[in-house]
């Protein structure tokens, strides 16, 4: 299958979502959580998706991350129709093209920073000799390269989130998806994390979608979308 995605275009369309809906069937009947959602994110863009609780932010995040399929609609990432991929292809696509930053950091227990960053490289089949350089480079982006062998449970909240960002970066993704990345951080650490996000999108021209309800986080984004009652505006 041909792919028209132009890797030399600094403004190439990375995320292309059209008329996307998501329904859930519950005991009370069918609920439509996402209604005719359209989202287009280009390289270097950092898009904030805001909305109140229950507005469908998490559902959109799970659809964007290929964790669950939408009910209807089109979804392309870097020119690939990701909805047509099977389970294994989606997993491979996720590790090659997507990076995730979660609110709770979700670093592996009883592991060092290095081991946390090594795991995506193992899954991607990166040779062992290449891993230390790539891990240090990713940590350097978030100024944590001096903590490479530190146990993750000895890091502060801000440091843990930065490790989480470095882990999202280590496989050189085209698109980073962040879920409330500053939700558990104080203002100072939040600002630092957002600076790293800006740096990543500006320097690496990576596309980023940040799901948040924090105004300050949204202000740092290049564009802001609001999800209300399943509709995405902006």
């Amino acid at each position: 299958m041909s792919n028209r995605y132009d890797i030399n275009d600094d403004n190439a369309l990375v995320i292309d979502i059209n008329h996307l809906t998501k329904n859930y069937v519950t005991a009370a009947g069918q609920i439509t959580v996402l209604k005719d959602v359209n989202l287009h994110v280009r390289r270097g863009e950092m898009v904030a998706v805001m909305g109140p609780s229950g507005s469908g932010k998490s559902t959109l995040l799970f659809v964007l991350g290929l964790f669950q399929p939408p009910s209807t609609g089109d979804y392309q990432v870097a020119g690939v129709d990701v909805l047509s991929l099977n389970r294994d292809q989606q997993a491979i696509f996720r590790r090659e093209m997507l990076g995730f930053v979660f609110q709770t950091c979700d670093l592996l227990e009883n592991s060092t920073v290095y081991e946390n960053l090594e795991l995506p490289l193992i899954y991607a089949g990166v040779p062992r000799r290449e891993r230390p350089d790539r891990i240090r480079e990713a940590l350097r982006m978030v100024n944590l390269d001096h903590r490479v062998h530190q146990p993750s449970n000895r890091l502060s909240g801000g440091e843990r989130q930065r490790v989480s960002i470095a882990r999202a970066l280590v496989n050189e993704p085209e698109f980073i998806l962040a879920d409330e990345p500053t939700g558990q951080l104080d203002r100072e650490n939040s600002l630092r994390v957002l600076e790293y996000f800006t740096k990543i999108t500006e320097e690496a021209r990576t596309a980023m979608v940040v799901v948040t309800h924090d105004g300050m986080t949204a202000e740092h984004c290049t564009r802001k979308c609001v999800l209300t009652d399943g509709y995405l505006n902006g």
Partner: protein, 417 residues
């Protein structure tokens, strides 16, 4: 490396990566991650590890030492009934000369697999001696030095004559306990005395003892060489006693003996006597003992397997979020499956390594206790069987939890609190 290196991927490329599958390096990495995970959470596996290790050690000790144990057990039980002693004899035939055992026949019988020892006896049923003007009649037996070993006899007082006495044709004798009391007044009093038997003088060197010595309490024993040279009217060795290594050998040896005899001499009047009833009783007792031991080992191992299954299920549940995270990072279902499977294998294999070490210690201890040494090859065989069984146990007990982990939906795993 440059963060933000431009990447483009096609469906064909995705398929190519999928088809390429996990190379040896990936498996090595997954094993490494699994071992690390088990090592860091080793406390939760201690109970299961101990259970499998003990089962494995028991298995190795029983299998490796089983034969030596059986021989030892056989010796102890045999004292009660002589279940593993086969009596082979030539019966007198009408008008025909009664046959007796030739040396080459005895040597050939001794070479039959399962034969531990063989001894012959020459008999004179009406020997007499005088002591302080009193006359005593008794059975006189000429026998080999290994006669004592075949019947598990020992010296109640003094010593039993040995191979050197037999080789030299020494004029020594061993006296049955009752006869010694009748002649000398007590058992100890006869030691060192000189007895006149059929006009020849013999020094009493010992009094016969042992569980089965009661049958021969009125006998006098001479080295067979001495008896043949000096006793007038002593019989030829018409009768031989074959001691089998274990009761399992009795059947095959008793079947083989007639053929071997026939191949070496005339077998006219040959009769093979086996104490089948005591033998069956002994076998029955040991069968129950074996059943009990093996059942205990299997139960221990199965409990260990259930323990692993249970722990792995709990581990999968408690690490649901981690599984979701790994899948979000791009782990394939097979990566998750192998990781949990390797963790289960790591627990069972390390348990079996501990089991092998414990088993080795047990073997060393039992070897000293039994005074025998099992073949190293048997230990290595048990070791390999133990490792193989541990691998089967690991895969068997870890497979379902691993499949469950691998099939988990990312969205469910990520939402799991």
């Amino acid at each position: 490396m440059a963060i933000g290196k431009r990447k483009k991927i096609t469906v064909a490329e995705l398929d190519r990566i999928r088809r390429r599958g996990a190379g040896p390096m990936r498996y090595y990495d997954l094993v490494r991650v699994s071992v690390r995970e088990v090592m860091r959470k080793r406390r939760r596996y201690i109970g299961v590890l101990a259970s499998i290790a003990l089962g494995m050690a028991g298995f190795i000790v029983i299998i490796t030492m089983g034969n030596d144990l059986k021989k030892n057990f056989n010796n102890d039980l045999d004292l009660l009934g002589g279940a593993t002693i086969i009596n082979v004899m030539f019966e007198p035939q009408n008008l025909e000369r009664q046959e007796w055992f030739r040396d080459r026949t005895l040597e050939a019988i001794a070479r039959i697999p399962g034969v531990l020892d063989i001894t012959t006896v020459a008999l004179k049923t009406s020997a007499v001696t005088t002591w302080h003007d009193r006359l005593f009649g008794f059975n006189l037996v000429g026998c080999e030095a290994n006669y004592w070993k075949v019947f598990s006899f020992n010296a109640k007082a003094g010593r039993l004559f040995d191979q050197r006495d037999v080789d030299e044709g020494a004029r020594v004798c061993v006296v049955g306990a009752d006869l010694a009391r009748q002649i000398f007044g007590s058992e100890d009093a006869g030691i060192g005395q000189t007895l006149s038997i059929d006009d020849n003088l013999y020094t009493v060197v010992g009094i016969l003892g042992g569980v089965r010595a009661g049958d021969r309490a009125l006998f006098v024993f001479l080295p067979i060489t001495t008896a043949k040279a000096r006793v007038v009217g002593i019989s030829q060795p018409y009768s031989a006693y074959v001691r089998c290594a274990t009761w399992d050998d009795v059947g095959s040896v008793s079947k083989a003996v007639p053929g071997v005899v026939k191949a070496n001499q005339i077998d006219r009047g040959l009769r093979v006597n086996v104490a089948w009833e005591p033998l069956k009783q002994v076998q029955r007792i040991f069968w129950w003992v074996e059943l009990f031991i093996y059942s205990s080992i299997v139960a221990t191992m199965i409990l260990g397997g259930f323990g692993i299954w249970n722990i792995m299920m709990a581990t999968v549940t408690s690490r649901t979020r981690e599984i979701g995270l790994k899948k979000a990072m791009g782990a394939l279902d097979s990566d998750i499956l192998y990781q949990f499977l390797f963790e289960a294998l790591c627990v069972t294999l390390s348990s079996s390594v501990f089991g092998v070490i414990l088993g080795r210690v047990g073997i060393e201890y039992m070897s000293r206790m039994l005074g025998s040494r099992p073949p190293e090859g048997l230990f290595v065989f048990c070791l390999l069987m133990g490792l193989g069984f541990a691998a089967i146990l690991g895969v068997g007990a870890g497979l379902y939890p691993s499949i469950r982990a691998s099939r988990m939906q990312v969205v469910d795993a990520m939402r799991y609190e």
